[in-house]
Symmetry: C2
Subunit: 228 residues, 2 copies
């Protein structure tokens, strides 16, 4: 069993899930006038929903919770809060996945109280029902067993953090790791193969060395900053 069960989501799945989500929204008989993407996770599904539902009014709001892949940080906050005229409009707030649900709930509440639209509903591709404190009005998939769904718009960031985490937390990484050894620990930790990330694997290692998180010594990768 991997430490962090990770599922790679493909672009084809993103399209299929977004189409399914659009069908659910249409089926409810409630058609939004405006779509608001929760930055940054909601950007791609929000854009696709605009296409599938025929909505031209697209905005975004930055509601943040996660600071590091597969780990929760403090409370959610709205970054750059701003107001627009939304009187009489039906607003759909979109995120990729509802995990704790805090970011989406906060964005919804902010829009309801500050933008004062006629109505606000929420939608997400996935809803992790056992852990979420908030259930979106619309979702395409209910996830019953928690996993880190690795969407294609956060490949490099997640992968970089995944690798760094092995170096920081796995005792076996203390003396450094050859790339082959790193690859096998990666599979053990995340249950997915480095090859599944294509060219991102190399980009992630490059980022870690150029940011001096890792350095290469005698052909092995070593953590260059002290452990937190």
């Amino acid at each position: 069993m991997p430490k962090v069960v990770t599922k790679l989501v493909s672009w084809d799945e993103v399209v299929e899930w977004s189409l399914g989500l659009a069908r659910k929204i249409e089926g409810s008989g409630w058609l939004p006038d405006m779509v608001v993407a929760v930055a940054r996770g909601g950007y791609v599904p929000a854009r696709l929903l605009c296409d599938y539902l025929g909505i031209s009014d697209l905005m975004s709001l930055q509601s943040q919770h996660w600071t590091e892949a597969a780990r929760a940080s403090q409370k959610a906050i709205i970054r750059n809060p701003y107001s627009v005229e939304a009187k009489g409009l039906k607003v759909l707030v979109v995120d990729d996945i509802v995990d704790t649900g805090e970011t989406l709930a906060l964005a919804k509440d902010f829009i309801a109280s500050e933008w004062k639209p006629e109505g606000v509903r929420t939608a997400a591709l996935q809803w992790i029902s056992p852990v979420a404190k908030f259930k979106p009005d619309y979702y395409y998939l209910e996830v019953k067993d928690w996993a880190w769904f690795q969407y294609p718009w956060t490949r490099l960031e997640d992968l970089t953090q995944f690798i760094e985490r092995i170096f920081r937390e796995d005792e076996r990484a203390k003396g450094g790791l050859s790339e082959d050894r790193l690859r096998s620990l990666f599979i053990e930790w995340y249950g997915v193969k480095p090859e599944d990330f294509g060219s991102y694997w190399r980009l992630a290692l490059d980022r870690l060395t150029s940011k001096r998180v890792l350095e290469v010594k005698d052909g092995v990768f070593v953590l260059s900053k002290p452990r937190k």
Copy 2:
């Protein structure tokens, strides 16, 4: 020669071009603090650039120009203009393609004068150099022969308008078209095959009939609204 030369852009190309664009931005030594997507076209590339450049601050601004696929409408306008605090920040404004360039130029000017950041630069996956009145600071591909680049986030909207246009403008569609006949006129008009659009083809026909733009009479599709 098709009337509207159309190129279908795949998700893999979007990733490849966005990675290439990120590399050009990094190579220039200018790293933005904030990314602003031009809604709606810039959403996906902006989200990907945030991943590739490690930027967490993502906003959007709606600058619109096109109202119908492959046709220009009036002047560009900023919809829902709003201001945020951007003092001291370097802002990168992102769109998918620079065609006339009006939407991106307008968004840039608006941000420069209203948000007052330290600097604003622009980026797009593609720049159609012979027609654009504006050259973005960063672009991945220069397009020398105009074509309608059909991005995956506007498949349904474009396809619906492509089909409608045949019915409105092609004399041969006057008495109605069987689906087979429509398919062959489509190839003639756009130079791409209906099959290349996968399940969107059916969705587009469904949308046109449910919106009563088209109706089905004796097994052929007929325009139900009078020609403009």
